[in-house]
């Protein structure tokens, strides 16, 4: 084997190991057997699901890992905005959700509560029990809305790539990336207002969805990076479904001061 050939193979192997690299360039995967379909032949994601997880196993209702693994992070951009925000001890700064501020996206979807999806020809609606997060995702090819103020949950639009639904979300305000599960006592992780996410969703088997989330934040990271999750279908949760989530009902941290009764 000559030197150039060895180098070429090494590059090919290295590229194949970059998270998300192959999924961004390959042709759409073959449909999973038994993929449920809508009347117009698109994959149908309507149903009730567990929150996204990326490690196998579930122990008595406890989740497998459901946050971003630092091994997937792209390098930080030199002189970019800070990714790590020091904690100050003030919950209004360190954990706004403790007094019922929004989790935002993607933090909200990664919370350990049930989700229910409703799909029509022109919309996929994701309802997450945590904070009753609702995402209305147009599927009819319309562009992002213009002139909106930045939002906690951004502005999503979807399109089909074969049997994969691709959702691009933009127009975020600067907020915690996934702080709910990132428990470093000194800091938490942020995204900037240039944050953009790409979600790829498809059926991987008869009882689970493939879910890839790409983080593109040019003010913080040198390039986009991705992490794959699995979303388990939970038809056995249908009888209970989603419960209401009125955070203020028993909020122990009114005004940001947490007090036990």
């Amino acid at each position: 084997m000559n030197h150039m050939r060895r180098v070429t193979i090494l590059f090919a192997v290295a590229f194949a190991c970059i998270p998300g690299a192959h999924t961004q360039t390959a042709a759409p995967p073959s449909p999973a057997p038994g993929t449920p379909r809508t009347a117009d032949g698109k994959p149908d994601f309507s149903g009730i699901y567990q929150w996204p997880t990326y490690l196998p196993g579930e122990e008595r209702g406890h989740s497998a890992a459901t946050t971003f693994d630092r091994k997937n992070f792209a390098p930080l951009k030199p002189r970019g905005e800070p990714f790590l925000e020091p904690r100050t001890g003030d919950p209004r700064h360190d954990e706004p959700r403790d007094f019922c501020m929004p989790a935002g996206f993607p933090g909200g979807i990664l919370s350990g509560n049930a989700m229910q999806f409703f799909q029509t020809k022109n919309y996929l609606v994701m309802v997450h029990e945590f904070q009753r997060m609702t995402r209305i995702i147009p599927l009819d090819g319309r562009p992002h809305r213009q002139g909106l103020e930045p939002m906690y949950y951004g502005d999503p639009v979807g399109h089909w790539d074969g049997d994969t639904l691709v959702v691009e979300t933009t127009n975020f305000k600067r907020w915690a990336l996934d702080d709910y599960y990132y428990t470093n006592p000194k800091e938490f992780r942020m995204h900037s207002d240039a944050f953009r996410t790409i979600e790829k969703i498809r059926w991987k088997s008869k009882d689970a969805l493939f879910y890839e989330l790409t983080v593109d934040d040019p003010k913080i990271f040198a390039k986009a990076w991705s992490q794959e999750f699995e979303i388990k279908a939970k038809p056995e949760w249908e009888p209970v479904g989603l419960y209401e989530y009125v955070c203020e009902e028993n909020n122990r941290c009114p005004g940001g001061k947490c007090e036990a009764k």
């Binding site: 929150w51 122990e59 008595r60 209702g61 406890h62 989740s63 890992a65 459901t66 946050t67 919950p91 360190d94 954990e95 959700r97 403790d98 019922c100 919370s111 350990g112 509560n113 049930a114 029990e129 945590f130 702080d179 709910y180 599960y181 990132y182 428990t183 006592p185 938490f188 939970k234 949760w237 209970v240 989603l242 419960y243 209401e244 989530y245 009125v246 955070c247 009902e249 028993n250 909020n251 122990r252 947490c258 007090e259 036990a260 009764k261």
Partner: protein
């Protein structure tokens, strides 16, 4: 006498297992901010009040002290929806019933704790923690 290498390895393996068992499952910051995972608690008492509300259920036990007095302790569990999908409903926490609760004490020193696991008089126990919260290691099998 020199300890055989297989025995040293076994001790090391058991030590690793013990460490792994004591690690958090997935604590969210709210848990870490409010409860001290260095202070596990295990208490038995009568249920005096149940708040089946978001964002976390709370239930309260009258716990007898060594001097004969009684202290009311509060325990925080998961969200109602999380528990109901596991088959745990409010009516399982009956006022007046004696239960044992395992969790971690509040950092502020108040008579509050996380309520990760509840054991009923018949030995049946349920996980009352949220998916993100720490639960003390358990040696017996839990069944819901």
């Amino acid at each position: 006498m020199k300890t055989p290498s297989w025995l040293r390895l076994s001790f090391a393996f058991l030590a690793l297992l013990a460490i792994a068992a004591s690690l958090p499952l997935f604590a969210h910051h709210s848990f870490a901010a409010e409860f001290d995972d260095k202070k596990p608690v295990k208490m038995t008492g009568n249920i005096v009040k149940v708040e089946w509300q978001n964002p976390h259920i709370w239930f309260y036990l009258a716990v007898k002290n060594a001097d004969g007095s009684t202290t009311t302790w509060g325990f925080a569990g998961g969200a109602p929806g999380q528990l109901m999908r596991r088959g745990i409903t409010k009516d399982q926490l009956k006022i007046g019933e004696t239960i044992m609760v395992e969790g971690f004490r509040a950092k502020d020193g108040s008579n509050n704790a996380s309520g990760g696991r509840v054991t009923f008089p018949d030995g049946r126990n349920v996980l009352t923690a949220g998916p993100q919260d720490r639960v003390p290691p358990q040696s017996t099998t839990s069944k819901q």
